[in-house]
């Protein structure tokens, strides 16, 4: 050693490596967690889009009776337990499943449709998805779900 400085001892090196390893481990965990969180956030946003798309698409079909019979099917029944529409939509190689429910709103006092002869419906959609590997193994944050709701009246303009 020159200049009076001395070399690190083996113990010091080992200790510093250990500290670094611990720090890296913690950091990798943090990064992993952040990535997971980021992915969750991204999928939550996608699920929100799926909910909006499916609500819009299906309400449009009901309001415009496309195909014929869709309007009657939608307006004449309530779908509280059994969904009116259900399916899945793949975005970024992930399946987002959805189910749409609908109930006709009644006037609290008279029990008649809230819009009189122009019925008013509350439409709910639930979207859920499973973060899994390409082999279908569960990973990441598992199953999550989100929802959305909106009102639509029978004579509504196309959304």
């Amino acid at each position: 050693m020159r200049g009076g400085s001395r070399a690190y001892s083996l113990a010091e090196v080992l200790l510093s490596v250990a500290i670094l390893a611990l720090a890296l481990l913690a950091m990798f965990n943090l990064i992993g967690s952040a990535l997971k969180s980021s992915s969750r956030t991204e999928n939550l946003a996608i699920a929100g889009d799926v909910a909006e798309q499916q609500l819009t698409r299906n309400i449009y079909a009901a309001v415009n009776d496309r195909p014929a019979g869709t309007g009657k099917e939608f307006w004449d029944q309530d779908y509280l337990d059994q969904p009116w529409r259900q399916g899945s939509q793949q975005v970024n190689r992930m399946d987002f499943h959805y189910a749409i429910y609908a109930q006709t709103l009644s006037d609290a006092a008279t029990g008649k449709p809230a819009g009189d002869n122009n019925r008013l419906k509350k439409v709910d959609i639930v979207v859920w998805w499973m973060h899994s590997t390409s082999q279908g193994n569960r990973q990441g944050y598992g199953q999550l779900r989100t929802g959305a709701t909106r009102l639509v009246n029978e004579l509504a303009p196309p959304p």
Binding site: S16, L20, A23, L24, M27, L30, I31, A34, S37, S38, T41, E42, L44, A45, G48, E52, Y101, Q103, L105, S106, D107, A108, A109, A114, G115, D116, N117, N118, R119, L120, K122, D124, I125, V126, R145, T146, G147, A148, T149, R150, L151, V152, N153, E154, L155, A156, P157
Partner: protein
């Protein structure tokens, strides 16, 4: 090296820690904003449904109107608050206010809502679907959220439209809200979305629209070489609405005994070929004939009496002026006299010379002598009936100025009809002087000496309504539960071709010094029986312009000419004429055996123009539908 690694790792760690929650927050915010938007649009849907059910609605049912799983809606004096939750329990809210929150009752004619239902929103929704005039859209004062100047606003809302502003909110700050208190103050962050929409009234059945619809025959009689011209203008343009005449009987144009010219460019005439003459006219411009018949299910504008706005039928229009039924007679000294009798009884009474000295009740300008004092005070300024002397000629004229709704009530002798006439009455035509009164002492007043001016007013009678006067109506309506009879003249002082000595108006017409009322009806006429209009005056016939909707259950007759006299005036109609020929509530067009449309005129210009029918909204909703014309993200 280690230090470098530590610094790099530290930076990464800090970035993760700083950006992670930020990204989450951004995502959360965009999700709650989408929820807020859906909530606002749900509020619009709710309001649209309510307005379609009740065109007078403005959130004033004052109760919980919907209490369903996931939705509670409260209406309180014009403030509407809805609390939505989806199946995941995410709570959102919509709020809108028609209430000015300016005290009881305030400029909105509404009491203030309960304190917990007041809304801190600057923008106020406004319902003018059945309004009769344009109104400003007010904005609340910043801070107090009170509308202190309802007459001022940055924009005006035309009649026949509703303006809706709905605030949608969503986020954790609403999670504590319960159905019982949907408007509780927020406790935490919420996203907000403000949506605005205009709803406007449009006419149903574009393919069934027609300038004229007669449950019986439609018969024109024109002067030699006269013509009937049918066109389409207005917002409908020529794209979807054809020039169209519809009759459940026959359609004919008579030109001195031969089929007269009927000009319709690619028009359509509906008639019953089995009812002679079926179709008799000289078509020009290319028209097609379609078959119609009584009971064929092809309806006309179905405008029921109950759907027609009448004086006193809509509290939002305020207290109507009330006058007793009877005959209001104008003398040539400018005075107004009231007789508690129907027009026919009055004519019979004055047929006895000895009775002609009976002055009846001499009235002052607000008719207070025959009106309830409370009503006179409550509606002050809405009615003025004055006789004025022309300083140049020394002659008098009388004018009814009506700017508030006028309801004819049963008189002391239970008369419910109303007549406004000159002392000597008027002849309907050379061959019909049944409403003319032979006076022992001549009176110079004629139909052109009296002006009946209405501005954004509805005049309603539960029996006959007879007006022998010049009539000027702006956005106004006359309704009669029986017959509506008008004998009117074009004032010579404003004749288009008689400008001597007068001033030229903006429209090119001449106005004389002194009096002048354009003979133009910008109003709706509705009668349960017949409507008849004549412009006969001193062996001549005057012009007539009609703008608006004319609707009778019985026959419609317009007499602007006479073959024997060979005097003619032209007719110009912008809007629509319907002679339904039945009670629209229970009968199909023409089923009562009435519904004839008889028009005698030099020429007839018949223009379907839905802009002139905007006041249909003020008549009723059954023939109209509500359409969202504008949707906008306001904030």
């Amino acid at each position: 090296m280690s230090l470098f690694l530590v610094v790099v790792i530290g930076m990464i760690g800090r970035a993760v820690i700083m950006l992670g929650p930020g990204a989450l927050a951004v995502s959360d915010s965009s999700i709650t904003r989408a929820q807020a938007q859906r909530a606002a649009e749900s509020g619009l849907e709710y309001a649209s449904a309510k307005l379609r059910a009740n065109p007078n609605w403005r959130g004033n049912e004052n109760r919980v109107t919907v209490n369903a799983p996931g939705l509670t809606v409260v209406e309180d004096q014009g403030n509407v608050i809805g609390l939505l939750s989806d199946q995941q329990g995410n709570v959102s809210q919509f709020r809108m206010r028609f209430n000015y929150q300016d005290g009881d009752p305030g400029g909105d004619s509404l009491s203030d809502p309960a304190e917990e239902n007041k809304i801190d929103l600057l923008y106020v929704s406004l319902n003018n679907l059945r309004g009769s005039k344009e109104v400003p859209i007010p904005v609340a004062d910043d801070g107090s959220f009170r509308v202190s100047k309802p007459e001022e606003g940055p924009h005006a809302l035309p009649q026949g439209e509703a303006y809706l502003v709905v605030e949608g909110r969503a986020g954790r700050g609403l999670n504590h809200n319960q159905g019982a208190q949907p408007n509780a103050p927020v406790q935490g962050q919420v996203s907000r979305y403000l949506a605005e929409a205009y709803l406007e009234v449009t006419l149903n059945e574009p393919n069934g629209q027609a300038s004229m619809m007669g449950g019986g025959d439609i018969a024109f009689k024109v002067a030699k070489n006269g013509k009937v011209n049918v066109e389409v203008r207005g917002t409908s343009g020529s794209s979807s609405v054809l020039p169209r005449l519809r009759s459940k009987g026959s359609v004919s144009v008579d030109d001195a005994g031969t089929p007269g010219a009927l000009h319709m460019v690619q028009g359509e005439v509906g008639r019953d070929e089995n009812k002679p003459p079926g179709f008799s006219a000289a078509p020009e411009g290319g028209l097609t004939l379609t078959q119609e018949s009584v009971g064929d299910g092809k309806d006309f504008f179905n405008l029921k009496w109950d759907d027609v706005a009448k004086a006193g039928s809509d509290p939002a229009r305020g207290t109507p002026m009330k006058i007793p039924g009877g005959t209001y007679v104008h003398w040539d000294d400018g005075s107004t006299h009231y007789y508690d009798m129907s027009l026919s009884d009055y004519e019979a009474y004055m047929g006895v010379t000895a009775n002609q000295a009976d002055a009846g009740v001499v009235l002052s300008s607000n008719l207070k002598e025959v009106r309830d004092a409370v009503n006179v005070n409550a509606t002050e300024g809405g009615l003025s009936v004055r006789g004025e002397r022309n300083p140049y000629t020394g002659t008098f004229s009388s004018t009814w100025s009506i700017s508030k709704d006028l309801l004819v009530q049963p008189s002391a002798k239970a008369v419910e009809s109303m007549a406004v006439i000159p002392r000597s009455g008027a002849s309907y035509s050379p061959n019909d002087s049944s409403d003319s009164i032979a006076l022992a002492q001549p009176d110079d007043y004629s139909t052109r000496s009296i002006s009946f001016i209405m501005k954004q007013a509805i005049v309603s009678a539960n029996d006959d309504l007879s007006l022998f006067a010049q009539i000027n109506g702006q956005d106004s309506t006359l309704t009669s539960a029986a017959n509506l009879k008008i004998i009117t003249t074009e004032a010579e002082m404003i004749s288009k071709d008689k400008g001597g000595g007068g001033k030229r108006g903006k429209d090119g017409n001449y106005f004389s010094n002194g009096l002048g009322v354009a003979q133009q009806l910008q109003l709706n006429l509705y009668a349960k029986k017949d409507i008849s209009i004549s412009t006969y005056f001193k062996n001549d016939f005057k012009d007539l312009q009609l703008e608006g909707l004319i609707y009778s259950w019985g026959n419609f007759t317009a007499t602007l000419g006479d073959t024997g006299l060979d005097k003619w005036g032209p007719l110009d109609v912008k809007g629509a004429i319907v002679a339904y020929g039945a009670d629209p509530t229970s009968g199909s067009p023409g089923s009562s055996g009435t519904g004839r449309i008889d028009i005698t005129a030099k020429n007839a210009e018949i223009t379907w123009d839905d802009r002139k029918l905007a006041s249909l909204a003020s008549l009723g909703a059954s023939t109209v539908t509500l359409r969202r014309s504008v949707y906008n993200h306001k904030e």
